[in-house]
């Protein structure tokens, strides 16, 4: 037994689903879809390379991402979703099933008819009743007829048969997030007056017929159903939690082999899986399902990214299988590291929702923490031994510099990082601590680099200010230098402000190097200014934000924009948009709006959080001092964590 297995015995004990033994109690969830595939639904080489990685994650059950079952594309929710409505798609599914079987896991193919969120290539979607979209990303609804219901159920059963023919052990249907099954189950979208609508019994009829049809089509194979423990749509006429659990009972009576408990619809008015939801928050729903249906295996993993917590939940009997996806996007070796007692080396999902932000822009999903995600098919993204082992110096121990350093070290280079402060983290450090959502998630990035630098023997030299004099002292000692010094506030762009010398620097304030008074004006309503303003306000300061453009949060990840705007409102931080600071003095900031009107905002401190500029001076100064000179991250263009990690990694793979 591995050391990790001894520490997490419940997670790593064998399980069973419909007569099939599983190596452990971990189920790779189908999560969302990758958008890596061909537009006609055929699985791409990119997807196959990705699924090979998924198959190797060490999960006892692997669920392959949802395939739409109908030839019309009404069930298709994502531009590059895979299809399983015809035999011509089977060969690639066979390959994936083969990957899973090779690893000794149980392969489950999810069949996903998106209902209300479907018809992405069409001018409409189908659902039980015509309930307009609350998210205009999706298509206008048409009411599904009874004949179409029968046809849709047949499509599901046929798709299930194809999945089994391809070599999967079983199938899964899903009502997660508000897909077709959920649309029938929910009072919010099912307002029918026939036998498929009205009472809970009637609303559950589609689900029961669907289960029955798949069970008849694939009688010897497990069928998993994903059902909401909470829709979070009840304020708008959706199902109550009690109704959700009655539907689970209906599904259990129909003989499903596992229930995966999920939370929320895409259009729900509250969060379910973001960083602002504490891990474990929804566990009660799984526990309720397990108590209600002790004989049915229950899988759960909504906002439950931690294997240690999952192990405890299984021990307590709250659920049977830990179902996860996003943590395995961030680190495909998470389960292996847990098994080998190397969890401290894992890259944690930080809940930035970069993945879903991209999927809803019809882009392939990527991961802030895993720059190789989706590029597994490309040799250029692989960490391979370097042909020539080099001695490399890195300037800057922020995410870009550290990502480069550990990637280059894995390839065999000897890496030394020079950092002017006394620890790893760069500008992320100050802002991670001030994150209102969950500082620990962002701090986990810093901890990861600390652990990996030590493990990979990256030499860290702190307290070193990189400048030409320093560089001259290092002449001919390194084959390459990487500048990852990040961005700084562009004070030159603020020189028009009368009294600009009094401006404080947002990065220095964030890191505690500059102290602000009680009343603060923050110039810039982007992520730097917002994060700082929010934390200052929470710390008891009076804060006003001055933003030049029409809206705040312009550089914030789409799925986090609303959080910042909400926090700003909840905290009562005044925001002056379309405005600029003209003068700074002991009275405060004189602010001019786009109509030329002046206001004096009383303040003890004025903090510049914008504009940012790449810190590129060293590129010119070092140019003739080292053989190879490279840059990455915000030192090239100020952006953020995602591009810093991606570029550090890419350069590390290449150099």
């Amino acid at each position: 037994m591995n050391a990790g297995e001894a520490k997490l015995p419940h997670l790593f004990k064998p399980g069973r689903i419909a007569g099939h033994d599983t190596a452990n109690r971990i189920k790779y969830g189908a999560c969302c879809v990758s958008n890596y595939n061909d537009r006609d639904g055929r699985i791409s080489a990119r997807e196959l390379a990705r699924t090979r990685v998924i198959a190797a994650t060490g999960c006892g059950i692997i669920t392959n991402q949802g395939a739409y079952p109908d030839p019309r594309g009404e069930g298709k929710a994502y531009f590059r979703q895979v299809a399983l409505h015809d035999d011509r798609f089977i060969p690639e599914f066979e390959t994936i099933a083969g990957f899973i079987r090779e690893r000794g896991a149980i392969g489950i193919q999810q069949i996903l008819h998106a209902g209300r969120y479907g018809g992405i290539d069409l001018g409409y979607c189908i659902q039980p009743s015509v309930v307009p979209q609350t998210l205009p990303h999706f298509r206008p609804p048409r009411e599904i007829t009874k004949e179409q219901i029968r046809e849709t159920i047949r499509d599901h059963a046929e798709a299930a048969k194809r999945a089994i023919r391809a070599g999967f052990h079983g199938t899964e249907v899903t009502s997660f997030m508000g897909y077709l099954l959920a649309n029938f189950n929910s009072k919010f979208t099912n307002r029918r007056t026939d036998e498929y609508g009205g009472s809970l019994e009637n609303r559950g009829r589609f689900m029961r017929e669907l289960i029955d049809a798949i069970k008849q089509a694939t009688p010897d194979h497990p069928l998993v159903i994903r059902l909401n423990g909470a829709e979070l749509m009840d304020p708008w006429g959706g199902n109550t939690e009690d109704e959700c659990f009655e539907l689970m009972q209906q599904a259990a009576r129909c003989g499903v082999d596992m229930i995966s408990v999920t939370v929320g619809w895409q259009e729900a008015p509250e969060s379910s899986i973001g960083r602002d939801i504490p891990p474990g928050y929804w566990n009660r729903l799984a526990a309720r399902a397990k108590k209600l249906l002790p004989e049915v295996p229950i899988a759960f993993g909504v906002r439950l990214p931690d294997p240690v917590m999952a192990n405890e939940c299984i021990a307590k009997g709250e659920f049977d299988f830990w179902e996860l996806c996003r943590p395995l996007l961030a680190d495909p070796e998470l389960v292996i590291k847990a098994r080998e007692d190397r969890l401290h080396e894992a890259r944690r999902c930080i809940g930035s929702l970069n993945c879903l932000s991209r999927v809803f822009r019809d882009l392939p999903y990527t991961c802030t923490m895993n720059p190789a995600l989706g590029h597994e098919v490309e040799p250029e993204y692989r960490v391979r031994p370097a042909a020539v082992k080099k001695k490399i110096m890195v300037v800057g121990a922020g995410p870009a510099g550290m990502e480069f350093a550990i990637t280059a070290a894995k390839r065999g280079h000897a890496v030394t990082v020079f950092e002017k402060s006394d620890r790893i983290g760069g500008n992320l450090l100050g802002f991670a601590a001030r994150d209102l959502a969950r500082p620990d998630d962002l701090m986990s990035v810093v901890r990861h680099y600390e652990v990996m630098a030590k493990k990979l023997a990256v030499e860290m030299k702190f307290g070193v200010e990189a400048n030409p004099k320093f560089m001259r002292s290092q002449l001919h000692q390194y084959d390459a230098a990487v500048l990852a010094v990040g961005a700084r506030i562009n004070r030159a762009a603020l020189r028009d402000i009368d009294g600009h010398e009094r401006l404080l620097d947002a990065f220095e304030v964030a890191q505690g190097k500059a102290v602000v008074g009680r009343r603060v004006v923050v110039i810039g309503g982007g992520k730097i200014g917002l994060t700082l303003a929010e934390s200052l306000k929470k710390g008891g300061h009076e804060v006003t934000i001055v933003e030049a453009s029409k809206r705040i949060a312009g550089d914030v990840m789409p799925t986090f924009k609303w959080r910042h705007t909400t926090w700003i409102e909840e905290l009562g931080i005044p925001v002056l948009t379309c405005a600029r600071v003209r003068k700074v003095d002991e009275q405060g900031a004189t602010v001019v709006d786009d109509k030329g009107r002046e206001t004096v905002v009383p303040a003890d401190s004025i903090v510049a959080a914008a504009p940012r500029v790449a810190d590129q001076a060293l590129f010119h100064e070092f140019e003739w001092m080292v053989d190879e000179l490279h840059g990455c991250g915000d030192a090239l263009i100020p952006r953020g964590l995602d591009s810093a990690i991606r570029e550090g990694y890419r350069l590390g793979c290449r150099l």
Partner: protein, 137 residues
């Protein structure tokens, strides 16, 4: 729902800059959630309409959201109706935003996103806090 259309027209025109990007003919309907839920199918809705000279409020018959001749339908629960009525002479945009965030107002889009953008809704929806992307959050 409030049916004092002149006061609503005045309120909308106070926020002229926000509605200015809308193309002429753009229409937003506002109804009580109880009506949307089917408690009273035939009722009235408040309509904010963009006309060439600016915004105008009116009251129209509401026969269900399937047929409501508007681009967006805002359904307000009891607290939402109270909130928006109370804000008619004040910062009603801010109030509406708070109602959306508080779960007291729900938008139904009767046109797809691309069409809404073409009709100039982007700024307005952003200002109100309309979830544009899908909220698997």
């Amino acid at each position: 729902m409030p049916e004092n259309t002149q006061r609503w027209t005045d309120a909308l025109r106070r926020e002229a800059a926000l509605f200015e990007p809308l193309t002429a003919g753009a229409r937003i309907g506002i109804v009580a959630e109880a009506i949307v839920a089917g408690a009273a199918r035939a009722s009235t809705m408040l309509v904010w309409q963009r006309e060439r000279e600016g915004m105008r409020a009116g009251v129209e018959r509401y026969d269900g959201f399937e047929s409501a001749p508007v681009d967006l339908l805002i359904a307000l629960d009891e607290a939402g109706v109270e909130g928006i009525e109370g804000a008619i002479d004040g910062d009603f945009v801010r109030s509406l935003r708070a109602l959306v965030r508080g779960g007291h107002a729900l938008f139904f889009a009767r046109r797809p996103r691309t069409e809404l953008e073409e009709s100039g809704y982007e700024d307005l929806l952003d200002e109100i806090g309309f979830a544009y992307l899908g909220a698997c959050r």
